[in-house]
Subunit: 159 residues, 2 copies
Amino acid sequence: MVLGNQVEWAIHCCSVLSGLGVGERVSTKTLAEFHGVPKEYLSKALQQLAQAEIIDGTLGPKGGYRLNKPADQISFLDIVEAIEGRKTTFQCTEIRANNPCIKGEKMKGICGVAQVMYRADEAWRDELRRVTLVDLQKTLKKNVSADLLQRSGEWLSRD
Amino acid sequence: MVLGNQVEWAIHCCSVLSGLGVGERVSTKTLAEFHGVPKEYLSKALQQLAQAEIIDGTLGPKGGYRLNKPADQISFLDIVEAIEGRKTTFQCTEIRANNPCIKGEKMKGICGVAQVMYRADEAWRDELRRVTLVDLQKTLKKNVSADLLQRSGEWLSRD
DNA sequence: GGTATTTTACTCGGATAGTCTATGTCCGAGTGAGTCTGG
DNA sequence: CCAGACTCACTCGGACATAGACTATCCGAGTAAAATACC
């Protein structure tokens, strides 16, 4: 049970976009080169983010992506769900219904096993819901040298 | 990102084993029929549980599995980790090291993105760690008719 | 100079392909409780 | 009646098959900014 790389890429891309000036956009190509990942495949992830209205892309030259809402209104969960979908990590197959001792007897409530797993799932989601791109930006500023941040910013808006 | 069916099966099997009398064992075949899942494949999951020393199997006729420790010392997390391994759900590929602006500069600390994901992962684990087979047994007794529980017990110890 | 056309640099989205994992099947080897056999 | 051999039901674990998901790659269509051509 492992999250795909696209999730990691998507979050890093959103992080980059959240550091942009007003009116600025970054193209898929630039994002791909900056992160060292295949352009075409990254594009799929960005499309999904766009479909979830987290980012917004424009066509043509000078086109590219930017955030579609304020960075403090975009949580990690939003991004993860945009890429991975909203399925729970545990899928109950109602195994208990196969019990040969049950005849017509109807089962009440949800399966006890599923209940526990769903609760854990919800704890995971809660944690991701609490963190926004602004929080990420703050820890970045704390852990990365101002010099590197500036050089990266210039690299991204070069051409 | 979805947990495999084996996790569900494993927990249900442990639940059954935790309801057993002293000295009793249940065979893979019986467990498979009881849950309506393929015997050979379920066997793989049970082997992993045995390797993690959660259950204990004996060979020969009258052989089968039983819990290897008291039910209140077996958490959902133990079972999940026995089946799925101990990998975190998020795998950091150190994408930030691909930044073309970094030259020799060494990165300090763990990636801010990974940090958040790991925290969510830990919340998930905490929740699973808190629930044991005894807790599961309690909710079962609350939600399932005593009649069905008894019939199931008899079915499991039949020959 | 202003308008129309072309070029160019992007995104969008469908088609395809390889690899990996989850799922499931098959079978031979090992084990040990119960059964059988020979004295 | 008892010891040793045998049988059978079970676990163990490796090999194999299949389906779906993940990770890509390629390309044609659409779009819009910029460059060019034309009047």
